[in-house]
């Protein structure tokens, strides 16, 4: 990557951060949403989950809330770009002598990653205040961070790809709305895989959200975690944190490749 590429990426990311600073309500609402979900899920499900979960439900749901925050923010990453397109601002980027238009994607991903990680720190702090402790040590924190970053990069790429596919933001918002809840509920974010029907368990394992949440939960709640520890048994196999991270990395690569292809095709 050339010096010009990093310059144009930096300036585009700077613009997104200025937006965040001048419209903090977007970050605040993005922070409150998972906190509210956490509170509601704990209130509604803590008793019914007692039989299937070892330990308090809040410990179980905290990694789910972190993942939900990352997933939700990154899946919406393309919306501002669609507004740019509708308002003609994207043409400014298209006629600029950019070294590589992938800087548009990367700048957005950097912005979403930084903001989401800041939100995650607040959620971790709030959970810690309620007694949820991170058990995984320094290496576990690194694994958790990698899982979150992979989710952010992958879904940001998907979102930006969708933003280039659609012409109007309401089309994109409709798709995001349809996709969000099934992706979260067909994962182990708020309920363990054992609660799902046998046939669904394997399929849910193919969901990138599940692939991220399983290793994150392992490092969050188990001080004796390892990369090769078996997680949940499914007809598709018994995943390990290492296998989940590899699966996630493949998802990110495919999403990035697809998004880059769409970008080239649509902005040629």
């Amino acid at each position: 990557m050339s010096r010009e590429f990093w310059q144009e990426t930096r300036i585009q990311a700077w613009r997104w951060f200025l937006h965040t600073r001048r419209r903090p309500i977007v970050v605040i609402s993005g922070l409150f949403q998972p906190l509210i979900w956490m509170a509601l899920f704990v209130l509604v499900l803590k008793d019914s989950m007692r039989e299937v979960i070892v330990g308090p439900y809040l410990d179980f749901v905290t990694p789910g809330a972190l993942l939900f925050t990352a997933f939700n923010a990154s899946l919406n990453a393309g919306v501002p770009l669609l507004f740019d397109r509708e308002l003609g601002f994207l043409d400014r980027l298209r006629v600029a002598p950019l070294a590589d238009r992938f800087s548009i994607v990367l700048a957005s991903a950097i912005h979403i990653a930084v903001i989401t990680l800041m939100q995650c720190v607040v959620i971790i702090g709030a959970a810690a205040a309620l007694g949820v402790r991170f058990q995984g040590g320094l290496l576990g924190a690194g694994v958790g961070l990698v899982a979150l970053l992979l989710v952010i990069l992958g879904f940001t790429a998907v979102s930006l790809g969708l933003a280039f596919q659609f012409r109007r933001h309401f089309e994109m918002l409709a798709v995001v709305m349809i996709v969000t809840l099934p992706m979260v509920f067909l994962s182990s974010a708020f309920a363990p895989l054992e609660r799902l029907p046998e046939w669904l368990r394997g399929l849910v394992l193919l969901n990138p959200v599940t692939l991220a949440i399983e290793p994150l939960r392992a490092v969050y709640s188990d001080e004796e975690w390892s990369f090769t520890m078996p997680l949940d048994e499914t007809w598709l196999g018994t995943p390990t944190p290492a296998a989940c991270l590899v699966g996630l990395a493949i998802f990110v690569a495919v999403a990035g490749f697809w998004s880059r292809g769409v970008l080239r095709r649509k902005l040629a």
């Binding site: 010009e4 930096r10 300036i11 585009q12 700077w14 601002f89 298209r94 600029a96 002598p97």
Partner: protein, 326 residues
């Protein structure tokens, strides 16, 4: 600096088709450094298609376009470095301040930080925005937004400036101010292509005009040349004695009898016009037309005579081209 002979923008046989519609059918022209060319044409004439093709926002089907020697199809990156573009709407980020907007643009153009800062300040000063530099763009007036948009387009010192209706939505004062800025840029040697619907703008600024109709060049030249090509006078007349089509036929007969050239008219206009040379007998055309009408028993309800305007030349060329296509 003034006008240079070497063309900075060359369009050769540009063609573009959308489905069954020919948006551009072999458009060719050149613009030299320091020259302002106005692109005039009705809606759907192909102006926006041409502008979008020249600014690499879309590709031509065939033909070529070069900006400062860079082919926009084969080498769009080099072309983008050579032109500056301001579209119909001011494409500005309303949450940014004026100086932030210029800093952003400088980053996209890969200007070094020090140069970006000094160039930004210079442009803010030149375009009368220095005092508003730290205000959010959303607080700017329409004229200020236009000037900032133009400053962004000029930040990387392009040799060619492509503008799509730069003064639309501006009040008279703001338009005059913008024209003065553009004239100054032309004096500095920038080649300017200006798509516009504003004849006053074209007359005030452009050294040459290209009249576009149905994707074709229907006429080109300076405003004076285009007016002169039409004739010395435009004579207008109306009768109201029969259905509209018959009125027209009657007037066209009258015009032809007097040696004038009927001009294509709007289908819903009650008035017909003819282009006419200076009369050899020194009489005014209105008298001759009134006399001829009386001799034929035709009652004229309106009669007028004036020097041709750029608008007359435009209407004659663009309506004529439309009728040819039909």
């Amino acid at each position: 600096m003034g006008m240079s002979a070497a063309p900075l923008l060359c369009v050769r046989d540009a063609r573009k088709r959308y489905g069954t519609v020919d948006a551009l059918c072999g458009v060719s022209f050149e613009i030299a450094g320091g020259e302002v060319m106005a692109l005039l044409g009705p809606n759907g004439a192909g102006k926006s298609t041409l502008i979008r093709s020249l600014t690499t926002l879309q590709k031509l089907d065939s033909g070529s376009a070069e900006v400062a020697g860079a082919d926009v199809g084969a080498n769009p990156s080099a072309a983008r470095r050579a032109f500056g573009y301001a579209g119909q709407e001011s494409a500005l980020d309303k949450l940014l301040t004026g100086s932030e907007m210029l800093r952003f643009q400088a980053g996209l153009a890969h200007l070094p930080r020090v140069e970006a800062s000094s160039r930004g300040k210079e442009l803010l000063q030149r375009f009368g925005l220095a005092e508003a530099a730290d205000r959010a763009v959303e607080t700017y007036s329409g004229g200020m937004k236009r000037r900032l948009d133009l400053a962004c387009a000029l930040l990387h010192r392009p040799r060619v400036l492509i503008l799509d209706e730069p003064s639309s939505g501006l009040d008279y004062e703001a338009r005059r101010g913008l024209w003065a800025l553009l004239a100054g840029l032309a004096r500095d040697g920038v080649a300017i292509l200006l798509a516009t619907h504003d004849f006053e703008e074209a007359e005030s600024l452009a050294h040459r005009c290209v009249l576009l109709a149905r994707g074709r060049v229907a006429g080109s030249g300076s405003a004076q040349e285009l007016r002169d090509a039409l004739g010395a006078w435009v004579v207008t007349a109306a009768v109201r004695s029969a259905p509209r089509a018959e009125d027209r036929a009657l007037l066209h007969e009258l015009f032809s009898a007097l040696g004038g050239t009927p001009l294509p008219e709007s289908p819903d206009s009650a008035e017909c016009a003819m282009a006419a040379p200076e009369r050899a007998d020194g009489r005014v055309w209105t008298d001759a037309l009134r006399e001829e009408a009386a001799r034929r028993g035709v009652v004229l309800t309106a009669l007028g005579q004036r020097r041709p305007t750029l608008q007359d030349a435009y209407l004659a060329a663009t309506r004529g081209a439309a009728e040819e296509v039909r």
